[in-house]
Structure formats: structure tokens, C-alpha cells
């Protein structure tokens, strides 16, 4: 309540000051009133000079600091105080006094220019209050969401760390097991051979069936994904959205090449796609990484364990050749050749193939002071404009794709937090995107604003190949100063 009263008095005083010219020279803020005493000579505020008081605001600059002409444009460095009752008091450069442009909402800057200004302070004040209130509400709610995010991130991190050490442990355990089995194998090779062969056969059959089923499911999934226009056919241009399928590795999947992959056809249906699939499955990289990975990360189905379980333990121990074959088929990194195959995961999600590494990587990201930005990891957000679909995958990359077909352009990969000192986490920088002709590589600056929703608000290209995105997220919301004081502080304006 005390704060409120002080504010009232100041505002009233200011309003009176503006109305009654005698009280202080034009353009002087109330708090400097005492420097301008008309009964005494005026000393420039920098102390450089003393002049008769009638030379204050006489439209001739006497003081180097401009302090003798607060209400005229005579000094190059002067400033003029607008009281702006009903809104916010402000200073404007004195060069804007009587320049024919309305600057102060209370019109006081244009007292002799012939231009007629409207007093808009009340409107502006109203508008500002509304905006502030809205902002305050967003901040309040956003901050609550942020707290939640922090909490979740904390748990997530613990889980991940737990999982990582578990994985590392299990890997160790497996290695130990392998050693043990090898010993067993060496000692009990002979008696076990028969049983093993039988066992192996059954296992092979089961594995093949499983594999086929998985393959089919995968193929269907890819078909749907490729069929961008959902016409039940995969066309050359749809295939071309996957440049990684380029057979000659020159980086461009030409029409002819794409047609080749489609066995010479322009379009294929799902039945015809079987042949195509065998052409492309080794290279195909799915676009729907986010959700797949998220699924894995959340740990709802313990995919990791599943993979471990269905690999036949003795397989590795017993048959080196088979092992190598699997290597070829699945292109599994060597360090996991024994247990850690990732059949299902790999084609869907390139980043999952080395799960412990990706976990380590994720854990090592700077997700903000309280990891409040962790929830953005592996997510993607899109914004569709007139021409393009923009996609922001935080901590990964930004891309742009023409709305009506054409290949995707990389607008930058995750670089760093790039905000100014004190608000480092307000800006994300993505760089080293696709190069521009005669220009730099594309890059994107993502400005974060406080919002309840997580969404890309706008995109622009202020400079060629330098993109700017506005992204709202609760994670950037600051703690409101005090939920109780925000509202009353703006109220007194209503009384004017």
C-alpha cells in the first residue's frame, strides 16, 4: 500500500507541473526542478558555466551539456522531459522538440511547430496496462509450467543417468558373460554341440519370421511416410525428399536416379513398393526421428532390454561367422557386435544406434540453469508460412522445406546459447547450414520468448541466408517479481 501512495503523489505532481508553466522551465523533470531556480543565475549541470537565468530556454545553447535548453532544440545533446500523465514519463532528444513529429503522448514536445498532436497518453497507458497484465499472466502461468519442467527434467536426468550406468553395467556384465560362456564353450563344446544345433535351427527360423514381419511393418511405415500427398502412390518427387538415397553419392538425387530406384516407374503403389524397398532400405533415413526416440527415451517399453533378450546368447559365443553376417546386415558398430544390436531402432532413428553415447550426449547438453529446456530435446516444432514449412528441432537443427514439394534445406545445426550477458538462454544459435551462392552458410537465430505454449511464432530472413525465428516456451519465463504487487502498481493511472 505504501508504494502505491508514493506513486500517486509523484504522478499528481508531474501533472500539475506540466500544466502550470511557472513551476519549472519547459522540459525539466520534477526531480531536477531545484536546479532551475529563477531567482538565481543558472549553473550548467556539468558546472562548466553560470549564466543569467533568462538564458535558460532562450533557444540559444550556452551549456556544453545542453542543460540550459531543456525545452528547446538549441543544444545538440539536450533532452526533453515528457511528463506523459496517464502513461509513462520519458525523455526525448531535444532535437525532436518542434520538429513536426509528435513524440510525447502528452503533445508537449510540439508546442511551436504548427503540427497538431493528439494526447494519446490515456490510451497508451490503458493499452500498456493491458499488455502488462497479459504479460504478467503469461509470465505467471509460464513460470508455473517452468517449475514443472524443471522438476520433470530433474527426474528425467536421474533416470537417464541411472539408465546409462545400468547400460554400462549390463554391457560389462555381458562382456563378463561372454568370457564365462567362452570358457564354458571351451570345456563343454563336445557334449553341447548337438543340443546347440537343434536349438540354433529353431532360433534361426524364429528369427527369420520375426525379421520378415518387422521388415514388412517397416516397409509399410516407410511407404506411408514417403507418400507425402497420401495418394496411395510413391512418386519420383516424393522419393526425392530423401537425398540420402542418391545412388551415385554426388549429393543430388536426380529424376533419373529416383526413377531408377522406382524400377523405371514414375509412381509405385504399396505392392510395387516391395521391390523399391529392397533398393533403398539400407540407405533410408526416416524423418520421424523425434517421436521414435522419445518413445525410447521415455522407457515405457524397455526396448533396450528387448533387444538384448531376443539375441541368442550362445549364438555369439558359438558362431563367429553368423556374427559377421549380422554385422553386414545391420551395419552395427563394432563395439556392440555381441549383444547390443538395434534392429528396430536403427532404421527409424539414426541417433539411437549408439544409445549409451546418445544418452551421454543428451546428459551433457546445456539445458539451462535448471535443465528447464531439456523437454525440447528430440522434439520438433513447425511453422507453415506462405511458401515454406519451417521446422525447429531444438538442440538439433533448423530446416526449411517448400510447401509445395522440393527438397529440404538445412538452415543450421545446433551451435550454442547466444544471448547477451545476463540472458544467455534467450537466444539459440544454429549455424553451418547449407551454403548460399556467393554467401555464407545458412544460419538461424532463435529468439525465445515467454509463453504458455511451446511453438514457433514467426520466421524471417532479415539478411540473405541469416534466418530469425521467434519461439515461445514457458522455460524462458522469469519468476514474476511478486505476484501480489504487479496488479496494484498499474492501477493508480485509472484515476487520472
Amino acid at each position: 500500500m505504501f508504494r502505491l501512495q508514493v506513486f500517486l503523489i509523484v504522478s499528481l505532481g508531474a501533472a500539475l507541473g506540466a500544466a502550470v508553466e511557472v513551476q519549472r522551465p519547459r522540459g525539466v523533470p520534477l526531480e531536477k526542478r531545484h536546479f532551475y531556480d529563477e531567482s538565481r543565475p543558472f549553473t550548467c549541470l556539468d558546472g562548466s558555466r553560470t549564466i543569467p537565468f533568462d538564458r535558460v530556454n532562450d533557444d540559444y545553447c550556452d551549456c556544453k551539456d545542453g542543460s540550459d535548453e531543456p525545452g528547446t532544440a538549441a543544444c545538440p545533446n539536450g533532452s526533453f522531459h515528457c511528463t506523459n500523465a496517464g502513461f509513462r514519463a520519458t525523455f526525448i532528444p531535444s532535437s525532436r522538440i518542434n520538429d513536426g513529429v509528435c513524440d510525447c503522448c502528452d503533445t508537449t514536445d510540439e508546442y511551436n511547430s504548427g503540427v497538431s498532436c493528439q494526447n494519446t497518453c490515456r490510451e497508451l497507458g490503458q493499452k500498456e496496462r493491458e499488455t502488462l497484465e497479459k504479460m504478467a499472466e503469461i509470465t505467471r502461468e509460464g513460470f508455473l509450467l517452468k517449475r514443472q519442467l524443471i522438476e520433470e527434467a530433474k527426474q528425467g536426468l536421474q533416470e537417464k543417468q541411472g539408465k546409462l550406468s545400468e547400460l554400462q553395467a549390463s554391457r560389462k556384465e555381458h562382456e563378463e558373460k561372454v568370457d564365462a560362456l567362452r570358457t564354458v564353450k571351451e570345456t563343454a563344446e563336445q557334449p553341447e554341440r548337438e543340443a546347440k544345433e537343434r536349438h540354433l535351427k529353431a532360433w534361426e527360423a524364429q528369427k527369420a519370421a520375426l525379421q520378415l514381419e518387422k521388415e514388412k511393418a517397416k516397409m509399410a511405415e516407410v511407404f506411408l511416410e514417403l507418400d507425402g500427398d497420401a495418394d496411395g502412390l510413391v512418386s519420383v518427387s516424393e522419393l526425392q525428399t530423401h537425398q540420402e538415397l542418391d545412388p551415385d553419392g554426388d549429393g543430388a538425387l536426380t529424376d533419373t536416379e529416383a526413377q531408377g530406384l522406382l524400377s523405371g516407374a514414375d509412381k509405385v503403389d504399396s505392392a510395387g513398393f516391395q521391390n523399391v524397398w529392397s533398393n533403398i532400405k539400407d540407405k533410408y533415413v526416416s524423418e520421424v526421428r523425434g517421436p521414435s526416440c522419445l518413445l525410447l527415451k521415455s522407457g515405457e517399453t524397455d526396448f533396450w532390454l528387448e533387444v538384448s533378450v531376443h539375441s541368442y546368447p550362445e549364438d555369439d559365443a558359438g558362431d563367429e561367422e553368423d556374427d559377421e553376417e549380422e554385422d553386414d546386415d545391420d551395419d552395427v558398430p563394432e563395439e556392440y557386435d555381441d549383444k547390443v544390436t538395434c534392429h528396430r531402432c536403427r532404421p527409424m532413428c539414426a541417433t539411437c544406434s549408439s544409445l549409451p553415447e546418445s544418452l551421454e550426449k543428451e546428459i551433457s547438453f546445456d539445458f539451462g540453469p535448471s535443465a528447464e529446456f531439456a523437454y525440447l530435446y528430440s522434439q520438433c516444432y513447425e511453422l507453415t508460412t506462405n511458401e515454406y514449412i519451417y521446422r525447429l528441432c531444438p538442440f538439433n537443427r533448423v530446416s526449411q522445406k517448400p510447401k509445395y514439394g522440393g527438397s529440404e534445406t538445412n538452415l543450421g545445426s545446433w551451435g550454442s546459447w547466444n544471448g547477451p550477458e545476463g540472458s544467455k538462454y534467450s537466444i539459440m544459435k544454429y549455424d553451418h547450414g547449407t551454403g548460399c551462392w556467393q554467401g555464407p552458410n545458412r544460419s538461424t537465430t532463435v529468439k525465445l520468448t515467454c509463453g504458455k505454449e511451446t511453438a514457433v511464432l514467426s520466421t524471417s530472413e532479415p539478411s540473405r541466408c541469416e534466418y530469425l525465428m521467434e519461439f515461445s516456451t514457458p522455460a524462458i519465463c522469469q519468476e514474476p517479481p511478486s505476484l501480489e504487487t504487479v496488479a496494484p502498481e498499474t492501477d493508480p493511472h485509472d484515476e487520472f
Binding site: A73, A74, S95, R96, S113, N386
Partner: protein, 919 residues
């Protein structure tokens, strides 16, 4: 803007960043240039047939005959008012009429009586008004000499290089009827033709994949001029070249052929965007000019010679020239048209400017605001972008007057339209600028998208106003919009229609504060020969070959007319053009095209604009920062500092460059740029006054030093510094990492004052001036008075009523003079209703007074005299102001360290009579 698409491909192929020379013809690749240039230096085959001489009051006609082919030419000689001679040569009986350039001269030049002094078998002598000035015509071979007393000023055909390819029927169509028409010279002409026909490229010419069908065959012309005693010649813009022209014996001649040159190179004679066929010669005694009025492809050879080698014939009876005297020979040759030459005899530089202005007019008087700073970029993306950049200037307290929109603002490069997504409410945007008293320029190029849904295209097509191809269909070429038609701006009906399109109700979204930029008007045709129009395209009855260099002038002429008409003839227009010709000064401003962010390009902006100023085009500037590539902060700052002191001050940048608004390079560089722009705004009263003078007299605003110091040989080659009017000398820093510049201060017995420190320096010396990044070496001549407005505001319009500070720089004799010019800043009322203030400011005998220079004009201003600075002054005991109302004493202070006397607040109206006395 540039030929981006095709050039881009070439660039990738060639892997080079400079101009692709193979796109543009060398003299060898231009068949007439090659033919002309390989012509022998034998004796001229032309002889004057004196019996045919006819002399009326002001005109002499005489037939010339080529003794090799018996083709007769008709020579016309005129003595023009203002010490000029006009020389026209055409075929006596051409097969078809030959093109004579219309619309460039402001009128038929007034003549003066021409009288015969003597006549004999060898030739005639004519008087050019005074006894001393005579024109000596030698009959065999034909040559003309202009003499002054015993001095030969200029010789025509002294080297016998007059050539005139007469029009002839095509061999395969050389029917009976044609030969019958040949009359008396028939037999000999046939014989002559036999020989000439052997030359290649006369009837068809191929350049790269482009075929020029040349239905009219060879038609080129040539003439040489000798300038005894001359070692310095200037002009013939536009070339990326030093101020002083070089001799061309070792390479190609200077070429004049308006072309869209992608990434032009410096210091070479290649043609650029514009052409003004005017050459100035200068020595310590005399300045002269040669104006070659021809709009076809033109080349100019310059060689150094000695006078004795070319002196012959009748002139030897009249004049003696030391045979070893230096001489400059100039030879012009053009592909078609006639020989029409104006010889401007000076003798002073200012006389040549007046003479040339009397022929082609003066610089249009621009709205005051256009002398402020212009912020441009390809492109400001949308209305929000424009708003944000506008706000940026306020936030950083940098004044500007115009923000510009390049081609992307249109709906698919359909000019006169707006992109619906990015500029949905152009009037709102323009009103937003108007509220800040600022303005906008939007681009309107002359290529018109061929699109049946585009009103402009449909109307031009239905009115049959497009340029035609050789087969009579509408000519089409590629440009920004894809396939485009090219309106025939040589047609007055087309120009009138075009002008009407700028009416506010026709040009949707336009308002009073929207002005126009004509780019690509060479014309640029991406898939045409040399990136321009095919020479066999048809403009009415003429080939493009005949009118090429005029196209750009006509585009700007029609646009300027449109801006005048839309205001009911009240408001002055502003139109920027890239292509230009002699006379373009009447229609607005030009810039030096698509330069690059390189120190060399910054440096060459000075001679390029100086050369343009010498031939009438004062409103010149270069893209600040450089169009292509990215300037580092130092180059950008130096470019702002240089541009602030050049007539047209606009920053511009290529689409592919990173943003470079003045505040994007850190606070220190922002402050440096702010300071440079503010210096510009403080000097706007002086700039405006200089443009008023340029408009009245034709004198350049930005001048080479030799123009004001014509006898000082040391100034003749200086092009790293220049004068603004007579009073300011500017030596911009154009070297990277510069620690100082050597400034030549001219004038024996004169003094100069550093414009920033007021320190006084003697004239006639090279002064080393140490510089920091904030330095712009500028000096005010002792003896001058310059009015400034030191209250810098958001835009020039905001400063309209602000008071003046007078900078009185005393000569060693303690005198100074200057002027002040004030009007409403934007209408024609200064001219039509004589609404202006023009006063002389004089300081002599310790008193400064303001007196009226134009008694019959009337204007009232709110501006007053705020302060007077007397540089090089002494401390008075009292200062008194005298006006019609009486006297009162004024406060003052004297700084002994700098000898600057500051007089406070005379407070008198800037339009009134007053005197300030120092006692």
C-alpha cells in the same frame, strides 16, 4: 541491381568474381570499330567543293566529296551564341534518311552571324565574331582549323580520319531501280563499293550466339580533332577511370554504349551504364569542349602527339604553332547516324559549363530532402522490416530522408504493383513514414512482364507501344520478371502514357512521399547481345542501333514527367537512373551502378562523379558500402564519410549480403557513421545552394580542383580530392588503415581553414593531415561564408524552420563572401512564382552584412540567424547588430587559441537585411 541469373551461372563456370569480359565486345569484335580503327593515316580522301559553298547569315553549307568513291557529303557550319561552333556532316543524298538525335538539345541553338573574311582556291576564312577568332577551311584535303590570333585552338580532320560509310543497297537487292537513283556519282560509287564490300561484318555481324542482321549495311562515321597545346582531356563518362583520360593507343578506345556490366573492373575503357559524349580539354590558357551528338555505339580514341605533325594547309598562313608543342588528338567514331559536333570554345571552365548547359540544359533542381541521406537495400522485405529500419534510425539518432524498396516489393516484378503478402498496405507504410516527415523511393524498371493478367503489359501491347523485333513482332527479352517486353520510350505517345501511370489513382498504393528509381534502363536484356537489346530491334522507323544510348534518358524523362503530372505540376520530381545520356541531368540523379565493397571502388567513386559533373550531371553518387560483397567496418565508415560529401548519398547492398544498417557494427562505428551523416545534414543549406547554382548555370556541384584553379598545373590530375562549389575542399580517406593523407591546398596567397578544428593553413602547399577513423579532411576556403544548420534532426524536412549558423572564413585580406538560398524545398514555386530568398553575405571592413540578390523574388522563412563564427578573426571590443529596427549590441566570445570569434544570437530573420559590426 545486376544481371544476376545468367551472370551467376557464368560466374560459377568461370570461377572468377570480376567482370566477364567475354560478354562485352572489344573494338576488334565490333566490326565498324575495327574497320574504322584500321583505316590508314593517309591523306584524307575528302575535299571541299568550294563552288558549292553557300553562306547565309548564320549558316554555311558546302559539299565534300570523297575522291575515292565520289560520294558527296553536305557540311553545315554554324556559329552559335556563346562562343560555340556547330559542325554537321551528312550524306548529300542518302539512300534513306540517317538518324539525327532528337530531344537532347533543349532547343535549336541560337546562332550568330557568320561572315567571310577571305576566300581563295585553297579555301575560305570565316570570322567567329572577333578579329582574333577565325575558322579556316582548307579545301584539299578538307580540314577546319579554329584559330585565335596566331594560335590554333582546334583542328578538325587534321589527321584525315573523317570517314562516312554512305548507305547503299544490299548487293542481292541492288536492282535496276536502285542504280537509276544513283544519279551523277553512280559509276564511281559502284566502283568504290566494290572495294568496300570486301570488308567483313558490314551486312551481318555475329557476337557470341547473337546475330545482328544489319539490314541497312554499314553506316558508321568518324572524325578526328587535334588539340594543340593540350595535354589533359576529361569527360566522356561513364567509365571506371581516373579523372584525366588516358591515351588509348595501346588498348581499346573508350567505349560509349550503355550496358549492364556485372561486377565492373576499375581503370579500363569498357563501356558502363551511361554515356555522355562530351570531352573537355584543358590547359593553363583555355578550357574547351567537344560534344559529339550521336546516340549509337561510339568509341573515342585519345592519343598524344606533337603539334607539328598534323599542321598543314591553309592554316599555316594564319597561325604558327611550335612544332614540338604537345598535342592531344581525339577521334570519335559511331556506328550510325550523322556527324553533329558542337565545339565549345570556353575559354574559362565556367564558360564551357555555360556553353554546354545552353545546349542540353542544366541539372534539375532537386527537392531539398533528396540531398539528405538515403537508406537502400535489395531488399527491405516487408512493411514490418521498413518500420523496424525506420525505427532503428530514431533509436540510434541518425537522420535520414528516404528509405528505398528494390524489385522484391512488387508482385512478381510487375512494376507499379506491390507484393500482396509483404506489402499489403503500402499507403499505411507511406503514412507511417510521412508522420516522421520521411519519404520512400520504389523501383520501377522499364522491362514489362509479358503476362496477360498484368494491366501495364496489356495496355502497352494493345496500344502497340512495345519495341519491335526485326521481324515486326513485339521484342521480348529476359529480365527480372522472366520474359519481358520493352516499351518504346523513344515514342512520345509511350512516354505520355507512362507518365500518366504515376497518377495516384493509377499507381495503386502510391502517395506524395513515394518517388521513383529507374534501374536496368540501358536497357538490360539478360539474354541479349552484351546483355542489352538487339541492334536490329525497331523503334518506329529507326533501328535500336541508332537510338541505343538514348533509351535510358527517355525512361527517366517519362518517369520524371509522371511525377510532375501527378501533383498537377506543382511538385519537383525525384528519379534516380542508372543509364543516361547527354541531357539526362534535366531529369534527376544518377548513380555509378553496381560497384563492390572494395577500397578501389570507394576511391574511384570520386573521379567517376567528377567526370559526370564536368558534363552537366551533378547529382551523382556511388552505392555507399559497395553493392556487391561485404564491407568491413572500416571500409563502411570511410564510405559513409566519403558519401556524406558527394552529391547523391545513398547506401545500397546486394540481396546476398548480410545486413549493414549503420548500427550493426558496434557502438563505436555507429557513432562514426552518425557523425558523418550529421555533417551532411548540417551542410544541407550549402548543398541546396550549390544545386540551385548548378540548376541556374550548369556549373558542377562537385568539381575537380582545376575548375577553380585553371592555371595551377598541379591540380590538373588530382582526383583523390575535390571541391564542393568554390568554398569547400574535401579529401576523403580512401585507403585502408590510413594514418594520414596528403592534401593539396591550392591558391597562391590563399588560406584554408580546417572545417573541424578551424586551424588555418596556407594555400599552394601539400599538407600532410594525420587522420584517425573519425577524420574527414574538409577545408573551407579563406574568403568564403558557408551557412549551416547545426540542429540536426530526424530528417531534412524536420529542419526546415531551424536557424542558421554562418561560418565566415576570412581571407588574408580580412574579407569573405557567400550566399544563402531558401525556398519551400519541394515545389516549382521558386521558378514559376519567384518564391525564394537569395541573399549575398559579405564580410569586409569588419562588418558582415546580408543583402538581397534577387529583388523581384518573395518568400518568407521562419529561419533566423542563430550564430556567426568568424574564422581567422580578431577579438573586437564590441559587436553591434544593425537592422531596419535599429541597433543593439550582441554578445560574443573569442577563442584566442583558434582565432575564432563566436557571435551569439543575432536573431535576425534569414530573409532580412542586416549588418553586424565588429568594433
Amino acid at each position: 541491381m545486376v544481371w544476376f541469373l545468367v551472370a551467376g551461372v557464368l560466374l560459377v563456370l568461370n570461377g572468377v568474381r570480376a567482370v566477364d569480359r567475354s560478354n562485352f565486345k572489344t573494338c576488334d569484335q565490333s566490326s565498324f570499330c575495327k574497320r574504322m580503327r584500321t583505316m590508314g593515316l593517309d591523306q584524307s580522301p575528302y575535299r571541299a567543293i568550294l563552288e558549292t559553298l553557300e553562306l547565309s547569315d548564320s549558316r554555311l553549307t558546302l559539299q565534300l566529296i570523297n575522291d575515292n568513291n565520289k560520294v558527296r557529303l553536305l557540311l553545315e557550319l554554324y556559329r552559335l551564341q556563346g562562343n560555340m561552333t556547330r559542325l554537321k556532316i551528312n550524306e548529300l543524298k542518302p539512300l534513306r534518311s540517317r538518324f539525327e538525335v532528337p530531344d537532347v538539345l533543349v532547343g535549336e541553338p541560337p546562332t550568330k552571324p557568320l561572315s567571310m573574311v577571305s576566300r581563295d582556291e585553297a579555301g575560305v576564312v570565316l570570322s567567329l565574331g572577333t578579329d582574333a577568332h577565325q575558322l579556316v577551311l582548307n579545301a584539299r584535303p578538307f580540314r577546319l582549323d579554329i584559330v585565335e590570333g596566331a594560335r590554333v585552338l582546334l583542328s578538325v580532320n587534321g589527321r584525315g580520319l573523317l570517314a562516312f560509310e554512305h548507305l547503299r543497297p544490299r548487293k542481292d537487292t541492288n536492282t535496276q531501280k536502285d542504280s537509276e537513283g544513283e544519279e551523277t556519282t553512280e559509276g564511281a560509287q559502284e566502283e568504290g563499293e566494290e572495294r568496300e564490300e570486301e570488308e567483313p561484318g558490314m551486312w551481318e555481324e555475329t557476337f557470341k550466339s547473337h546475330v545482328d542482321s544489319k539490314p541497312n549495311g554499314p553506316s558508321s562515321i568518324s572524325l578526328d580533332f587535334s588539340l594543340p597545346g593540350v595535354e589533359h582531356v576529361y569527360g566522356i563518362p561513364e567509365h571506371a577511370e581516373n579523372l584525366r583520360l588516358k591515351t588509348t593507343d595501346k588498348g581499346d578506345p573508350y567505349r560509349l554504349y550503355n550496358l549492364d556490366v556485372f561486377q565492373y573492373e576499375l581503370y579500363n575503357p569498357m563501356a558502363l551504364y551511361g554515356a555522355v559524349p562530351v570531352l573537355l580539354s584543358h590547359n593553363a590558357q583555355r578550357t574547351m569542349g567537344i560534344f559529339w551528338l550521336n546516340a549509337a555505339e561510339t568509341w573515342v580514341d585519345i592519343s598524344a602527339n606533337t603539334a607539328g605533325k598534323t599542321l598543314s594547309g591553309k592554316v599555316l598562313d594564319h597561325a604558327q604553332v611550335p612544332s614540338d608543342a604537345p598535342q592531344t588528338d581525339v577521334r570519335w567514331f559511331s556506328e550510325s547516324g550523322i556527324i553533329d559536333v558542337f565545339i565549345m570554345l570556353g575559354p574559362k571552365p565556367s564558360d564551357v559549363f555555360t556553353q554546354y548547359a545552353s545546349l542540353t540544359g542544366t541539372q534539375s533542381f532537386p527537392p531539398l530532402s533528396t540531398l539528405g541521406y538515403h537508406q537502400c537495400r535489395w531488399n527491405y522485405n516487408d512493411q514490418e522490416d521498413v518500420r523496424a529500419v525506420d525505427a532503428g534510425f530514431d533509436e540510434h539518432d541518425i537522420p535520414y530522408d528516404f528509405i528505398w524498396l528494390d524489385i522484391e516489393h512488387t508482385d512478381g516484378k510487375r512494376y507499379f504493383t506491390w507484393d500482396a503478402a509483404n506489402f499489403p498496405q503500402p499507403r499505411d507504410m507511406l503514412r507511417g513514414l510521412q508522420d516522421k516527415r520521411r519519404k520512400m523511393v520504389a523501383i520501377v524498371d522499364p522491362h514489362i512482364k509479358v503476362d496477360s493478367g498484368y494491366r501495364i503489359h496489356n495496355e502497352i501491347r494493345s496500344r502497340n507501344l512495345y519495341v519491335k523485333d526485326k521481324d515486326g513482332g513485339n521484342y521480348e527479352g529476359w529480365c527480372w520478371p522472366g520474359t519481358a517486353g520493352y516499351p518504346d520510350f523513344t515514342d512520345p505517345e509511350m512516354r505520355a502514357w507512362w507518365a500518366s501511370m504515376f497518377a495516384y489513382d493509377k499507381y495503386e498504393g502510391s502517395m506524395e512521399n513515394l518517388y521513383t528509381w529507374n534501374d536496368m534502363n540501358e536497357p538490360s536484356v539478360f539474354n541479349g547481345p552484351e546483355v542489352t537489346m538487339h541492334k536490329d530491334a525497331i523503334h518506329g522507323t529507326w533501328e535500336h542501333r541508332d537510338v541505343h544510348n538514348l533509351y535510358g534518358l527517355y525512361v527517366q524523362m517519362a518517369t520524371a514527367e509522371g511525377l510532375i503530372q501527378r501533383s498537377g505540376g506543382v511538385e519537383r520530381p525525384f528519379v534516380l537512373t542508372r543509364a543516361f545520356f547527354a541531357g539526362s541531368q534535366r531529369y534527376g540523379a544518377v548513380w555509378t551502378g553496381d560497384n563492390a565493397a572494395e577500397w578501389g571502388h570507394l576511391k574511384i567513386s570520386i573521379p567517376m562523379c567528377l567526370s559526370l559533373g564536368l558534363v552537366g550531371i551533378s547529382f551523382c553518387g556511388a552505392d555507399v558500402g559497395g553493392f556487391f560483397k561485404n564491407p568491413g567496418p572500416e571500409l563502411l565508415v570511410r564510405w559513409y564519410q566519403t558519401g556524406a560529401y558527394q552529391p547523391f548519398f545513398r547506401a545500397h547492398a546486394h540481396l546476398d549480403t548480410p545486413r549493414r544498417e549503420p548500427w550493426l557494427f558496434g557502438p563505436q562505428n555507429t557513432a562514426l557513421i552518425r557523425d558523418a551523416v550529421r555533417q551532411r545534414y548540417a551542410l544541407l543549406p550549402y548543398w541546396y545552394q550549390l544545386f540551385y547554382h548548378a540548376h541556374r548555370t550548369g556549373e558542377p556541384v562537385m568539381r575537380p580542383l582545376w575548375v577553380e584553379y585553371p592555371q595551377d598545373v598541379a591540380t590538373f590530375t588530382i582526383d583523390d580530392q575535390f571541391l564542393l562549389g568554390r568554398h569547400l575542399l574535401v579529401h576523403p580517406v580512401t585507403e585502408q588503415g590510413s594514418q594520414g593523407v596528403s592534401v593539396y591546398l591550392p591558391g597562391v596567397g590563399e588560406v584554408w581553414y580546417d572545417a573541424h578544428t578551424f586551424r588555418r593553413h596556407d594555400g599552394d602547399q601539400n599538407l600532410f593531415v594525420p587522420v584517425t577513423l573519425s577524420s574527414i579532411p574538409v577545408f573551407q576556403r579563406g574568403g568564403s561564408i558557408i551557412p549551416r544548420k547545426v540542429r540536426i534532426r530526424r530528417s531534412s524536412t524536420c529542419m526546415e524552420n531551424d536557424p542558421y549558423t554562418l561560418y565566415v572564413a576570412l581571407s588574408p585580406q580580412g574579407t569573405a563572401d557567400g550566399e544563402i538560398y531558401i525556398d519551400d524545398g519541394h515545389t516549382f514555386n521558386y521558378d514559376r512564382q519567384k518564391q525564394f530568398i537569395h541573399r549575398r553575405l559579405t564580410f569586409a571592413n569588419s562588418s558582415l552584412s546580408s543583402s538581397n540578390l534577387s529583388a523581384d523574388s518573395q518568400f518568407t522563412t521562419a529561419s533566423w540567424i542563430e550564430r556567426v563564427l568568424i574564422l581567422g578573426g580578431q577579438e573586437p571590443s564590441a559587436v553591434t547588430l544593425r537592422t531596419a529596427d535599429g541597433s543593439r549590441s550582441l554578445e560574443f566570445e573569442f577563442d584566442a587559441a583558434t582565432s575564432v570569434l563566436t557571435i551569439h544570437k543575432p536573431g535576425v530573420n534569414a530573409g532580412s537585411d542586416w549588418t553586424v559590426l565588429l568594433q
